[in-house]
């Protein structure tokens, strides 16, 4: 934590950042987000509990003057989220300063995070990643008899109270308006939200951008394991195209390119390209 504070203080004193977005400890150990502007306050900067800032950082920058530079204390997922946001022109990298914080072992375990550290680490020791398949609940939701899974997912999603929290909390979801608000796609005013459209449209829109931060399911009041919807698609992208969102700011998502334009992705035409059926009768 000290190293983080020092860097933050430096940035403000050397005028390399106009504000630091991080947690502040108030009276009675209350923790709340805060934009530090005075090096004197930095002593109250804290890094726990885990709190995702990517989206807030983006929103702050959007409503700030162009030359405003915001430093953010980022964990691995925040870092990746900001990379994706920059890729989609939602933030400008030059307005951002990253203060990297590696998650603790327990946090990594708790999230089943495969990359619990940012690109550059200023605080904390990088912990080895943990496969989400180590999570009993998630595994049972991704593997095994499909008819069984179909029932379980239907039941889980049937809890949805349509709070839009998954979308609002997601660092990547930025569209205004959003398709989930359009009655052409999702019926309005009824609970639970139409399972198939509401949740699968949401999940699919993030298929190639989800950085697996888990903000969606943390924000879900009825504890639907929303991140699990994402994982299989993330794996598919990894296997087929060696692509993982949030790692490379330069490389565009492979599903936005055809095979000729992204040969390394297209070389092995996946086996689903079935010639179809040429029976003759």
């Amino acid at each position: 934590m000290e190293e983080i504070r020092n860097i933050a203080r430096d940035l403000l004193e050397k005028k390399e950042a106009d504000g630091i977005l991080a947690l502040r400890e108030g009276d009675q150990a209350v923790v709340e987000p805060h934009v530090f502007r005075d090096p004197g306050d930095i002593s109250r900067l804290v890094t726990e509990p885990k709190w995702l800032f990517a989206k807030t950082a983006m929103k702050i920058l959007r409503s700030s003057p162009r030359d405003f530079r915001l430093a953010v204390v980022v964990r691995g997922c925040d870092d990746r989220a900001l990379v994706e946001l920059a890729k989609r022109n939602q933030v400008a990298e030059e307005n951002l300063r990253f203060i990297g914080l590696a998650c603790t072992e327990d946090q990594a375990k708790q999230c089943f995070c495969e990359r619990p550290y940012p690109r550059t680490i200023h605080g904390g020791k990088p912990q080895p990643g943990i496969s989400f398949l180590r999570d009993e609940r998630v595994r049972s939701l991704l593997q095994g008899d499909s008819a069984e899974r179909m029932k379980r997912w239907a039941a889980l999603l049937g809890r949805c109270i349509k709070c839009y929290g998954c979308r609002n909390a997601c660092p990547i979801c930025v569209c205004v308006p959003c398709k989930l608000e359009d009655e052409v796609w999702v019926e309005k005013g009824t609970l639970p939200a139409e399972r198939l459209v509401f949740h699968l449209i949401r999940a699919f829109h993030l298929s190639d951008t989800c950085v697996a931060c888990g903000a969606c399911q943390e924000a879900c009041p009825v504890s639907i394991p929303l991140l699990a919807l994402q994982l299989a698609m993330r794996e598919a992208l990894k296997d087929r195209y060696g692509y993982e969102p949030g790692l490379d700011g330069e490389r565009k998502s492979p599903i936005l390119k055809n095979f000729t334009e992204e040969p390394e992705a297209g070389r092995d035409v996946p086996d689903w390209v079935t010639p179809g059926d040429t029976e003759n009768e």
């Binding site: 989609r88 022109n89 569209c175 796609w185 334009e261």
Partner: protein
């Protein structure tokens, strides 16, 4: 809502007994107050056009939903009747009731009727939401820019000039002619290269339709098919040109086979091109020649056959036999490529003339023997499998044509595609000599290694394609279709809601989308002239900001909801 008229075609009774059209008509009338329904014997006969046109007028129809055959929507008669009633193209939506319904469900009339009803309700639902794309158009600038004055470029320039089209012929070198300036004879006719191009060169000098720009290259490109604005840089500064079409005939380069077969080490090891230059100077004084094929070609790093090397070797080998007293020529090859009747004959002729052919395996190529000069060659004959050594004085390497080094910069300028080897690629499968950008065509070895006369053929072909564009007086975005008929529309952005994520930009196969900055945020913009309405952008747009009005998401949603009521 606009008054909608439903036209149901009985197709002279084709549907009777399968689809109960009258029942459907009643159902339609009952459910939609705003529509009137007509059953007609046919919609596609010339005489129908006026009758239906009048009927639509009298109904005051703004939109038409037609239930007819698969081909129906393409029938001129139907369009004419719409025109007569002053109805927009986008005012029609058809449902295929014959092939797509009656004929494939003959065994199941109730099912077919049910389906026909649904299809019509889907069509009506879609029609309610259908919109029209705003078209844009521009005057065609009836001039053509030809890039490269090699055989392909010259042929293109001359034939366009012959059609009365002013041509700007831009050449990197000092004078026109390209590769033909460097070789002495052409195959299979064995004519002097000069004689092949002199008429073209004369034409370029004399024909005032052709402006020639030597030592020049393209530095900027703007605009679109029908009116490109191109900046070229020449000895006397840069100048701006306007052209309705562009033909890229920049040819190819030759590989210098450094390190292959001791090339560069022994000066008796030369390339085919050096030999050509030698012939131009005069008859060489060596006697025993070896020609080695595929030097640096058909290899992992250059996995293609550049098709002209075998014939050239045959040509030069025969000249050795004929013009050099006591001359001997042996061709070391992996296999001889001489497609087509003429080249096959050429091959046989060379054998009659006594040219020797020795086939070797890719994995053990011939070896040049000798200390400071070529003395002999050791080779394992692939046919007999035994090794032999031949004495000789000269080794000629057949090297492949390789992409021009400035292909990459041209690709950037014109936003074209290169194939995996670096040659310009045309839009597969149905559009030879066309690139993914309308109004830009490719010909000659820039596209693929070809012989000079093939290059000229392609030049003429490209010229004809360019002519198709240049002969129009105006070009409209909707008319720039790669497919029969007009484009169904083009991508249209709702600027207010665009998040500027750039998905459309990355996905568009025709580079029609681009991001523009609007008060601090990015907004996508579609170049309607480039857009081909494939819809890639629509399906990757995260919030439906990008739409093709003629096929917008509201239509899809409405149709889905009506598909199985």
């Amino acid at each position: 809502m606009a008054k909608t008229v439903v036209l149901l075609c009985r197709c002279f009774g084709e549907l009777d007994g399968i689809i109960a059209l009258d029942g459907i008509a009643d159902r339609l009338r009952a459910e939609r107050e705003d529509t009137s329904v007509y059953l007609l014997n046919s919609l596609c006969m010339e005489e129908d056009a006026h009758r239906i046109g009048a009927l639509l007028k009298q109904e005051g129809a703004r939109a038409v939903c037609a239930g007819l055959c698969a081909a129906g929507s393409k029938r001129e008669a139907l369009w004419e009747s719409l025109r007569n009633a002053g109805i927009e193209r986008s005012g029609l939506f058809t449902a295929d009731l014959r092939e797509g319904c009656a004929w494939i469900h003959q065994g199941n009339p109730p099912g077919a009727t049910e389906k026909a009803k649904d299809l019509l309700f889907m069509a009506l639902a879609a029609l309610d939401e259908k919109k029209a794309s705003a078209d844009v158009s521009a005057d065609v600038h009836p001039e053509c820019l030809v890039l490269g004055a090699g055989p392909a470029g010259l042929a293109a320039a001359v034939s366009l000039a012959g059609q009365g089209i002013p041509v700007h012929l831009v050449e990197r070198a000092a004078q026109p002619g390209g590769m033909l300036n460097l070789i002495s004879r052409t195959y299979p006719g064995d004519d002097h290269a000069k004689t092949r191009i002199e008429p073209l060169l004369r034409e370029v000098e004399t024909n005032n339709m052709i402006a020639f720009y030597p030592r020049s290259k393209v530095v900027s490109v703007r605009g679109f098919a029908g009116d490109f604005k191109i900046g070229i840089q020449g000895p006397d500064g840069t100048l701006r040109l306007r052209a309705g079409a562009v033909i890229i005939a920049t040819g190819a380069g030759v590989l210098l086979p450094r390190g292959l077969y001791r090339y560069g080490e022994l000066k008796q090891v030369i390339t085919q091109m050096e030999l050509e230059r030698q012939w131009i100077r005069g008859v060489p004084d060596d006697k025993r020649f070896a020609f080695i094929q595929c030097a640096g070609a058909r290899s992992p790093e250059r996995a293609y056959c550049s098709t002209i090397c075998c014939p050239s070797s045959l040509k030069n080998a025969m000249r050795v036999m004929e013009e050099i007293p006591g001359g001997e020529a042996t061709i070391f090859h992996r296999d001889i490529m001489t497609p087509g009747n003429l080249l096959e004959a050429y091959y046989r002729k060379s054998m009659e003339k006594g040219v020797r052919f020795i086939r070797f395996h890719e994995e053990d190529p011939p070896e040049i023997l000798g200390g400071d000069r070529v003395e002999a060659i050791r080779v394992r004959d692939a046919a007999r499998g035994k090794e032999q050594v031949l004495a000789l004085e000269k080794v000629v390497l057949s090297t492949p044509l390789v992409p021009n080094m400035d292909n990459r910069s041209l690709r950037e300028l014109f936003q074209l595609e290169l194939d995996s080897h670096g040659f310009f690629s045309e839009t597969y499968p149905l559009h030879p000599l066309e690139t993914r950008v309308d109004g830009i065509f490719i010909a000659g070895s820039a596209r693929w290694p070809v012989s000079s006369d093939k290059a000229m053929e392609q030049g003429e072909g490209a010229a004809m394609k360019a002519l198709g564009m240049l002969k129009r007086d105006r070009v409209s975005a909707l008319s720039l279709s790669r497919t029969p008929g007009e484009k169904p529309g083009h991508g249209t952005v709702e600027e207010r809601t665009c998040t500027g994520c750039g998905n459309c930009v990355s996905v568009c196969p025709f580079l029609a989308c681009s991001l523009q900055e609007r008060d601090g945020r990015f907004v996508s913009r579609v170049n309607k002239m480039r857009c081909k309405a494939c819809g890639s952008c629509v399906s990757v747009c995260p919030n439906g900001t990008m739409q093709i009005p003629e096929h917008n998401y509201r239509m899809v949603g409405a149709m889905i909801r009506r598909a199985f009521p």
